[in-house]
């Protein structure tokens, strides 16, 4: 059984009188631990797909089975619970809460899940260490560099040890060197067993993924698996 199974997904946005078919009859399955890049021109439905996978959006038709469970029919609060426990998000614009310190931002999912403060502190401390942010724990986002901000965001996305990590243009706001650093970090997490799904414009980043989904006009054009991608990622 695949970790993610999408079958016959349709997503239609209504803008005034016109209807935009953001996703049409999309069926795809992704195994646990895969490294998938979703690519395509703007408006091809990449972000909509990512939002659906992250349970932030609901399809108009079709079924989404996550770990064998049909999650399309869950209530908003049940979906929130699934997001909290199983899904980590990384955004292009980091989305850190500006008034909270790095450590507090990382602790947010633990707080929402009601983890006891003592355990929270130790887990955040470990995460700060893992992501090389120990010296920045007490700093607010505005006092951090772009790379550090994204590292905080990734630490936050992974603090609940989710089954999959959804990244929307994670290097879009970063310079090349920092972008590569962040990519390497994400890939290391993937190597640890977390499913990694990255939406990107950047062909070089897409090329590093073992599997590429090419989207066009809301439909899947190409599904490429590269045997040698693992070697590329490692190198």
């Amino acid at each position: 059984m695949a970790q993610i199974e999408l079958s016959g997904i349709e997503r239609i946005f209504r803008l005034g009188d016109s209807e935009v078919h953001a996703l049409r009859d999309l069926s795809v399955s992704i195994e646990a631990g895969e490294y998938v890049a979703v690519m395509g021109p703007s408006g091809s439905g990449k972000s909509t797909l990512l939002n659906l996978l992250g349970l932030l959006d609901r399809p108009d038709a079709g079924h989404y089975r996550l770990e064998g469970r049909d999650v399309t029919t869950l209530s908003a609060d049940e979906q929130a619970e699934v997001r909290r426990a199983r899904i980590g998000f990384v955004f292009q614009s980091f989305h850190l809460v500006p008034r909270l310190t790095a450590a507090e931002n990382i602790a947010l999912p633990l707080m929402l899940a009601g983890v006891a403060p003592a355990e929270r502190a130790s887990r955040v401390e470990r995460a700060l260490k893992d992501f090389g942010l120990e010296s920045r724990a007490g700093h607010r986002p505005e006092e951090l560099s772009g790379g550090q901000r994204q590292r905080v965001a990734i630490a936050r996305a992974t603090i609940m040890r989710p089954a999959m990590l959804l990244a929307d243009e994670p290097t879009g706001n970063l310079d090349r060197a920092t972008g590569q650093e962040v990519t390497a970090l994400l890939e290391a997490l993937n190597a640890g067993g977390t499913t990694l799904i990255v939406v990107t414009h950047d062909p070089s980043m897409g090329a590093r993924a073992r599997r590429q989904l090419l989207m066009e006009d809301g439909a899947l054009r190409q599904d490429v698996r590269r045997a040698d991608a693992a070697a590329t990622a490692a190198g």
Binding site: N51, A80, R84, A85, F91, H95, V97, P109, L112
Partner: protein, 402 residues
């Protein structure tokens, strides 16, 4: 999310926008302070008036000549229509009622007092030895009027503190002679300074035996009779006894009016209590305005933090988490405002007490509790709508906002 986390998260959010929070707190504070100060003023006035009346004595019945109430026809009404005067004999008769403990007939008139060439206009009060006890007055020097037969016109006088100062200066007044009208009287006592009072001020009066006063003013009627009954509970039965006595003495006609302190007191208490309530109601309008401000501020906060709400949802916050966080923030703002207003209000009441020391301007407990309660309730009530709006935001849309 534990309650402690919600509280911390909300307070951090409130503190992140200091100006907005300060203005909000100020608005709420003004509302609460208005309630506290205005009710303090209203209740202070009430307490002042009630206190003044209570100082006259709680178990006092005042007998006035004349009747201000329509009664039925009786034997007396055919004999005469004018009320009979109150006399000293009436006062003595009232003392015979079992529930009456003390009686003080009062006779009042204006005269002149002169001591060693100093002359001034003065109010002369004719009464008996019991008057000082009935009214709870104190004698500063010498003694009060001697206890003697009501008909005896002793040539003695007790003077008020201001008169003593003006007429005798620093010399002792007791034992000195003073001329009042055509009478030479010996000063036997000086009243203690009485301070400001609603009742009679003893500072500028001369108190003489009732017979002396009547002789001085060439009359045998009384201004009124003050009657002290055994205790508060005895007022009503004593009133009945006294009415019976007066009716018997006045040929079957009840041509006197009996006033009890309780009746006057109760009326003033009710009127001023209602006034305080009305003032509190007016002040509460400002609280409602503050509540609407809370709503406005929270709606702005929701718009401002749309991205953050989207993020929280992406991180797995349920609608309840977000609703609670925003409601807590609104409650915190209201609560802070309420406490600041409470302090400001007490400061204002203190200022009033300082400016007008006679006014006991303490805000009543109910008003303080009501103001704090209303502040919190309006804050929460008006916080519900923004919180719901935040909870309902579509995460995808919210995340696109920066």
């Amino acid at each position: 999310m534990t309650p402690a986390d919600t509280l911390r998260f909300a307070s951090r959010a409130a503190l992140a926008y200091p100006l907005r929070t300060a203005l909000m707190v100020l608005a709420m504070a003004i509302g609460v302070a208005a309630v506290v100060v205005l009710t303090a003023l209203g209740d202070g006035a009430r307490r002042y008036v009630v206190g003044q009346f209570a100082s006259l004595g709680a178990n006092l019945v005042i007998v006035l000549p004349g009747r201000n109430q329509t009664g039925g026809v009786n034997a007396g009404s055919f004999v005469t229509s004018t009320p009979r005067d109150l006399t000293v004999a009436d006062a003595s008769a009232l003392l015979r009622a079992p529930l009456v403990t003390r009686v003080a007939p009062l006779s009042l008139g204006n005269s002149e007092i002169s001591v060693g060439g100093k002359l001034r206009e003065v109010l002369v009060l004719g009464t008996t030895a019991d008057y000082v006890d009935i009214r709870n007055y104190h004698v500063a020097a010498g003694q009060f009027l001697p206890r003697e037969d009501l008909g005896r016109a002793a040539a003695v006088a007790v003077i008020g503190d201001t008169l003593r100062r003006e007429l005798f200066g620093n010399e002792p007044a007791v034992g000195r002679m003073a001329r009042i009208g055509d009478h030479r009287l010996r000063v036997v006592g000086v009243m203690a300074p009485s301070g400001q009072g609603l009742g009679m001020n003893t500072d500028e009066i001369v108190i003489v035996p009732v017979a002396t006063a009547q002789a001085m003013f060439n009359t045998n009627t009384l201004f009124r009779i003050m009657v002290e009954v055994r205790n508060r509970e005895a007022i009503v039965p004593a009133q009945r006894e006294m009415e019976k006595i007066m009716r018997a003495r006045h040929e079957g006609e009840l041509d006197v009016t009996l006033i009890t302190q309780d009746a006057v007191l109760g009326t003033f208490d009710r009127i001023l209590g209602a006034l305080t309530l009305a003032v509190a109601g007016i002040a509460a309008i400002s609280l409602a305005v503050a509540g609407i401000l809370v709503m406005n501020v929270m709606l702005v906060a929701v718009t401002q933090r749309t991205g953050e709400i989207g993020l929280l949802k992406a991180l797995g916050a349920s609608g309840r988490h977000i609703r609670l966080a925003f409601l807590t923030e609104a409650a915190l703002l209201s609560l802070a405002g309420a406490f600041v207003g409470f302090a400001l209000g007490h400061l204002g009441a203190w200022g009033i007490r300082l400016t007008w020391p006679v006014l006991p301007a303490w805000p009543p407990q109910w008003a303080v509790i009501a103001a704090l309660g209303t502040a919190l309730t309006t804050g929460l009530l008006f916080g519900v709508m923004p919180a719901r709006r935040a909870a309902r935001l579509d995460p995808v849309q919210a995340l696109m906002k920066r």
